[in-house]
C-alpha cells in the first residue's frame, strides 16, 4: 500500500470511529447557573506559565437543558481572556484566531481541548505553577456567568 493511500485509509477510519464514540461521552455536571439553563463546565485545566506570559484554559462544556446556549465571553483576574481557536492550513501552518462565541446546542457537549478551541489567557499577572489554579468566569448567553477554577497542570 502506498503511503498516500495508507494515510487516507487511516484518516477515514478514525474519523468514523471518532464519530461513533461521540455520543457516549459521559458527563457529570459540576456547576449550574440556574435550573432553566443546565450548563455545566467540567475538567477545567491550564498549562503552567510564567508571570507576564500566556496560557490556555481547556475545559468541557455541556448543555443539559432543552434550549440552546452559547459561551459568549470569558474573563479572569489573572490575565486577558479571549475565546480562541487553533487551525492548521494546507501547508502545515498553525495559527490561532479569536472566535466570537462557542455554540452549545441543547443536550450538546463541547470539549475545548489542545489543538482546537480554547480560552487564550495573555498577560498573566502571576505565574501559574503546577498544583495551583486560575479563576475564570465564563459568560453564557442564557445561563449567564459561571465561575470555574482551572487546575494548573500538564495534561
Amino acid at each position: 500500500m502506498s503511503r498516500r493511500s495508507l494515510v487516507a485509509a487511516l484518516v477515514f477510519g478514525l474519523v468514523v470511529a471518532a464519530c461513533s464514540s461521540g455520543s457516549g461521552a459521559g458527563l457529570s455536571a459540576a456547576s449550574s447557573a440556574g435550573a432553566a439553563h443546565a450548563v455545566s463546565v467540567t475538567g477545567a485545566w491550564a498549562r503552567p506559565a510564567p508571570a507576564g506570559g500566556s496560557t490556555a484554559v481547556y475545559l468541557t462544556l455541556a448543555n443539559g437543558g432543552s434550549s440552546p446556549d452559547a459561551l459568549v465571553s470569558a474573563s479572569s483576574p489573572t490575565g486577558s481572556v479571549e475565546l480562541h481557536e487553533t487551525s492548521t492550513d494546507m501547508n502545515g501552518m498553525t495559527g490561532m484566531s479569536p472566535v466570537e462565541r462557542i455554540e452549545l446546542p441543547a443536550g450538546a457537549t463541547v470539549a475545548l481541548d489542545p489543538g482546537g478551541k480554547h480560552l487564550m489567557v495573555t498577560g498573566l499577572t502571576t505565574a501559574l505553577d503546577a498544583g495551583g489554579s486560575i479563576d475564570v468566569e465564563l459568560v453564557f448567553e442564557h445561563a449567564g456567568p459561571v465561575h470555574v477554577a482551572a487546575e494548573v497542570r500538564t495534561p
Binding site: R3, V11, F12, R47, A51, G92, G115
Partner: protein, 544 residues
C-alpha cells in the same frame, strides 16, 4: 523496518512530490473526513442531540486523533539530509549551535513563547518523549520565531516552565529568518491591533535530527508521544550507514563550549558529571557579583540545603582565573528547589566559563557552564552603596498616580515607598526601572509585572517602581519629553547609571536589589527572572 537508504541517492520526482505534498494529502484527507463526519452526524437526526456542536468541533480533535493512528514509520525521512545549521543565542546570552549536540538525537521545534495552544502542547509532548527515553540521551531545541518578545531574559523565565532537556534559542530577526527559511519553517505575525499582544501563525512541525546530524523524521502537529518515541528509538537503532554526506559542522569535542549538559559529559570517568545551569539573567564583570546556579545529577535536581559547591572561574579557553569561590545554598521559602549562589570576580566583560564541583563519597561531582559577563557601565557597583537619591512616591505628587507611573492599572504599592525611605529605615528594597507606556524595547513593562508577582512574597522588602524617562501629563495622558528614539532620563534614573554606556538610555528595564545595609547586591538588565530576585532576596533575608 529498514531505512538504510543511501543519502546520496538522487531524489526521484515521485518521491519529491510525495514528500512535498504529503501534508497536503493528509490535510485534504482530514477535510474530507470532517465533511464525512458532518454528513454522518447530521444524518443521525439529533441522535446525539448535538449536531451543530459536533460539526464545529469535528476537525480539530478528529485531526489529532487521526494523526495519532498513523504508523510512526510514515514520519521517517526516506532520504535523510543534513540538518541545516542552527547557530543562535541561548537564554543566558551565549551562542548555541545545533552542531554542539552532535552525538545526541535532537528534536527541533520552531514556535513562540506567547503561543498558548500549539507550542505548549508540542513542547509538552516532546518533553514527555525525552522523559521516557532517557536512555538514548535525546535533546530538544525550541527556536523562537518571535525574537522581539522572546529575548534571552524572557527565555530564561520561560525555560523554568519547559520540560528538562529543552534548550530555548533566540536571535536577531535576521538570524531567525535565515534559520527558519533553511528549515522550511514559515511564520507570520497575526496583527490583532496591539503591537505587544499579537499571535503568530507558523509551521508547527517537529523535526528529529539524529546523532550524526541528519534530519530523520518530521512530525506534524498532533503527533503523539508514542509516535515520536517510536520514531526516535527507530532512528537510534538504525543509523544511516553511509556517513559520506554527513558533512555538517564537526562534532563538538570541545564540549564545554556548547551546553551545560554536554559539558558535564566531558568530566573524566572518575568523576560524576554534574549538570550546571546558570539561572541568573544577568552576570556582571567587575566586583564579585552573584551567579545563581541550578545543579542536577543523573537528571535529578541537587537540593541539598547544606551543600557548598566550589566554583572556579575559567577563561573561555579553560584557563583558571582567580581563586575558587564557595557557593552558598539558598532555598527560597516555600520552594522545593535549592539554588547555589557563587560570587566570583570576573575581570572583564565577555565569555567565561565556570567549573562547579563538590565532593561525594570516593569521588567528585564536576560540571561546568558557559557564562557571558556583561559590562555594568556606570551603574552602582555590586557590593557598594546604593545611590541616596529619592525616587518619587505618590505622596510627593499629591496622590496623582500618573505622575509617578505610566502603568494604566498601576499597583500603587510600587509607588508608596522611596528608595531614600527604605535606605533610612534599613529596609531591603528592589528597584525596578521600567515603563509600561514608553516602551523602548519589547521587554518594557514586564519587569513591573514581575515585581507585582514578587511583591506579595516579600512583605518586608520594599518593591519600588521608577519611571526612567521624563514626561508630562497632558490632559490626563502621560506624554514623553522627546521621542521614544531619544528619550530623556529623569535625574533619579540617571543617578542609578541606567543610561550609561555601553547600554544607553534605551536599555530598559533595569532592576536592582539592595539589602538592609544599603548595599547593592544584584543588578539585572532586561526582565529579571523570578529566580533572580527571589533567590537574592532569600539570601539577604537569611542574613547572607
Amino acid at each position: 523496518m529498514t531505512r538504510r537508504t543511501a543519502p546520496v541517492a538522487p531524489v526521484d520526482e515521485s518521491t519529491r512530490i510525495l514528500d512535498g505534498g504529503f501534508w497536503l494529502v493528509l490535510v485534504l484527507a482530514l477535510a474530507c473526513g470532517a465533511l464525512l463526519l458532518v454528513s454522518f452526524v447530521s444524518g443521525l437526526g439529533g441522535g446525539t442531540g448535538a449536531p451543530a456542536a459536533a460539526d464545529e468541533d469535528a476537525l480539530s480533535p478528529s485531526a489529532e486523533a487521526s494523526i495519532a493512528a498513523i504508523d510512526p514509520a510514515v514520519f521517517l525521512a526516506d532520504t535523510p539530509e543534513d540538518a541545516p545549521p542552527i547557530d543562535l543565542t541561548a537564554a543566558d546570552g551565549r551562542r548555541f549551535s545545533l552542531a554542539s549536540l552532535r552525538g545526541s538525537p535532537t528534536f527541533v521545534f520552531f514556535g513562540y513563547t506567547h503561543c498558548t495552544d500549539v507550542c505548549p502542547a508540542t513542547i509538552g509532548t516532546v518533553g514527555e518523549v525525552l522523559a521516557e527515553t532517557q536512555d538514548v540521551d535525546a535533546r530538544a531545541l525550541f527556536v523562537t520565531i518571535d525574537p522581539e518578545r522572546d529575548t534571552p531574559a524572557w527565555l530564561t523565565e520561560y525555560a523554568r516552565y519547559m520540560p528538562s532537556g529543552f534548550v530555548p534559542l533566540t536571535g536577531t530577526p535576521d538570524e531567525i529568518a535565515t534559520t527558519a527559511k533553511a528549515w522550511d519553517v514559515q511564520y507570520a505575525k497575526v496583527d490583532e491591533g496591539d503591537p505587544t499582544n499579537y499571535s503568530m501563525s507558523h509551521t508547527a512541525t517537529v523535526r528529529l535530527v539524529d546523532a550524526a546530524g541528519l534530519v530523520r523524521a518530521t512530525f506534524p502537529f498532533g503527533a503523539t508521544r508514542d509516535q515520536m518515541a517510536a520514531a526516535l528509538r527507530d532512528v537510534v537503532a538504525d543509523p544511516v550507514t553511509d556517513q559520506g554526506t554527513a558533512s555538517g559542522p564537526t562534532p563538538a569535542t570541545a564540549a564545554p563550549a556548547s551546553s551545560a549538559a554536554a559539558a558535564a559529559s566531558a568530566a573524566p570517568a572518575a568523576q560524576v558529571p554534574l549538570t550546571v545551569q546558570v539561572t541568573s539573567t544577568s552576570v556582571w564583570a567587575g566586583p564579585p557579583s552573584p551567579i545563581i546556579l541550578s545543579l542536577s545529577r543523573d537528571g535529578a535536581p541537587v537540593i541539598d540545603p547544606s551543600l557548598h559547591p566550589t566554583v572556579q572561574l575559567r577563561s573561555a579557553a579553560g584557563d583558571p582565573v582567580g581563586a575558587p569561590v564557595t557557593a552558598v545554598p539558598v532555598q527560597p521559602p516555600g520552594e522545593d528547589v535549592v539554588r547555589y549562589v557563587a560570587s566570583p570576580k570576573i575581570p572583564a566583560p565577555g565569555p567565561w566559563r565556570i567549573d562547579v564541583s563538590y565532593p561525594l563519597p570516593g569521588t567528585t561531582a564536576v560540571g561546568s557552564a558557559d557564562i557571558a559577563a556583561l559590562d555594568p557601565g556606570a551603574t552602582p557597583p555590586i557590593g557598594g552603596p546604593a545611590p541616596t537619591v529619592h525616587t518619587p512616591t505618590l505622596t510627593d505628587v499629591a496622590g496623582v498616580a500618573k505622575a509617578v507611573t505610566t502603568d494604566p492599572a498601576p499597583d500603587l504599592r510600587l509607588s508608596s515607598t522611596s528608595t531614600s525611605d527604605a535606605l533610612a529605615a534599613g529596609r531591603p528594597f528592589v528597584l525596578v526601572v521600567d515603563s509600561t507606556k514608553f516602551r523602548v524595547s519589547p521587554a518594557c513593562g514586564r519587569a513591573i509585572v514581575m515585581a507585582r508577582f514578587l511583591l506579595d512574597r516579600w512583605p518586608d522588602v520594599a518593591f519600588i517602581h521608577l519611571e526612567p524617562y521624563r514626561y508630562s501629563i497632558v490632559t490626563d495622558t502621560p506624554v514623553l519629553d522627546g521621542s521614544l528614539e531619544d528619550p530623556t532620563l529623569t535625574d533619579v534614573a540617571a543617578a542609578w547609571g541606567v543610561g550609561s554606556q555601553p547600554w544607553g538610555v534605551r536599555s530598559m528595564p533595569w532592576t536592582f536589589v539592595v539589602d538592609g545595609r544599603g548595599i547593592v547586591r544584584a543588578a539585572y538588565q532586561g526582565v529579571m527572572g523570578t529566580d533572580d530576585v527571589d533567590v537574592i532576596v532569600s539570601m539577604i533575608q537569611a542574613g547572607g
